[in-house]
């Protein structure tokens, strides 16, 4: 999923535009449908399905996404090392008109569970509203377009032919990356939030409670 790497490292605006770009170009060029046809050996159908007017535009930006995400992650790592040395203080509590936000330790498996139910909910639990909102709206759109719930309904009833007939292969192929990306991204965000909480508290204690003149012995 192009854009997912950018969302992971906090480049939410760029990740969001890459998501929109991916949905627009992939559905216009019918790339996912062509993937299904190619993998199941129907090569003539695959060739006929691809819209070359959109397809060639897709390739350049797709490769750019890899390069850009890698470059950004490398730069971010350098900044992380520098800021660790300087002890840049973190804002641990913020009160505003629309929200109360604060650092707190969380269980890293709770967002995994919520993301496995509906992608985006894990991020919303962690108060990453931007990423959560993007993933959630992508999930709702993809569920509607792929007719996923119809497919599940007929699969549970045992009418596999009807389920296969109803499901839209172009949109259904987004589901694995949406689900799995949400699961592991929310897991690592929880781990990073816990680390931030510990760093902030350690900094606070060192500043406030280590200045006393205690003579133990």
């Amino acid at each position: 999923m192009p854009g997912a790497g950018h969302l992971m490292i906090g480049k939410i605006d760029k990740g969001f535009f890459l998501f929109i770009w991916e949905f627009l170009f992939n559905t216009q060029a019918n790339i996912n449908t062509a993937i299904v046809y190619s993998c199941t050996g129907r090569f003539e159908l695959a060739k006929a399905t691809l819209d070359t007017r959109w397809f060639f535009l897709y390739i350049g930006v797709y490769v750019f996404t890899f390069w850009d995400a890698y470059r950004l992650a490398t730069e971010m790592n350098n900044f992380a090392r520098l800021s660790q040395k300087d002890h840049i203080p973190l804002a641990h509590f913020k009160l505003s008109v629309i929200d109360i936000n604060y650092l707190l330790k969380v269980n890293k498996w709770i967002p995994v569970l919520w993301s496995a139910v509906v992608p985006g909910l894990g991020h919303i639990y962690l108060r990453h509203y931007m990423v959560g909102g993007i993933l959630f709206s992508c999930f709702v759109m993809t569920t509607y377009q792929s007719r996923l719930l119809d497919g599940i309904y007929f699969t549970v009833l045992g009418d596999f032919g009807q389920a296969t007939h109803l499901l839209d292969m172009e949109w259904l192929l987004y589901m694995p990356s949406l689900y799995c990306f949400s699961i592991y991204d929310s897991h690592y965000r929880a781990i990073e939030l816990n680390k931030m909480y510990e760093a902030e508290q350690a900094h606070f204690l060192k500043n406030t409670y280590t200045s006393s003149q205690l003579h133990l012995f």
Binding site: A202, K206, Q213
Partner: protein, 144 residues
């Protein structure tokens, strides 16, 4: 007289400090310092290499789910069930590879505590201090 105790990094720790100060124990009588864990030097560890590598497991699971959904369109059970089978198989393979084949840096048994708190008090309020510390989820406590 001193009360020594060990704590996790948590909101309870800040609450115990505030509670002690509310009971007329001055900041000068309080000493709280984070313990530097010796196996915790590496700051950037995006893959959480000491425990389960969920990125790896979920990524293999995603590949399995994708293949399941693709071939489900031509196989009997349909895309939904094959995607689920692919997800479970892929995650299982990822889990097995992660457990048995990844050379993990075995860290020593994790110390359960992050912070040491020392409170200076006298004979009259030592019981009170101990009660406050114990009631805020201290991991260990002793007096000297």
């Amino acid at each position: 007289m001193y009360v020594l105790s060990l704590f996790d990094h948590s909101i309870k720790l800040e609450m115990v400090l505030q509670e002690l100060e509310a009971h007329a124990i001055t900041k000068e009588a309080l000493f709280a310092t984070p313990l530097q864990l010796l196996d915790n030097k590496k700051y950037i560890d995006p893959y959480n290499s000491e425990s389960l590598n969920l990125f790896f497991v979920v990524f293999i699971g995603m590949l399995g789910m994708l293949l399941g959904a693709i071939y489900g369109f031509v196989l009997y059970l349909g895309p939904i069930l094959w995607a689920l089978i692919g997800l479970i198989t892929g995650s299982g393979i990822g889990l097995l590879v992660d457990i048995f084949l990844m050379n993990k840096h075995k860290s020593p048994k994790k110390l359960g505590a992050d912070v040491v708190l020392i409170v200076k008090c006298n004979e009259t309020n030592v019981k009170l201090v101990e009660d406050i510390v114990v009631n805020h989820r201290a991991l260990a406590i002793t007096r000297v």
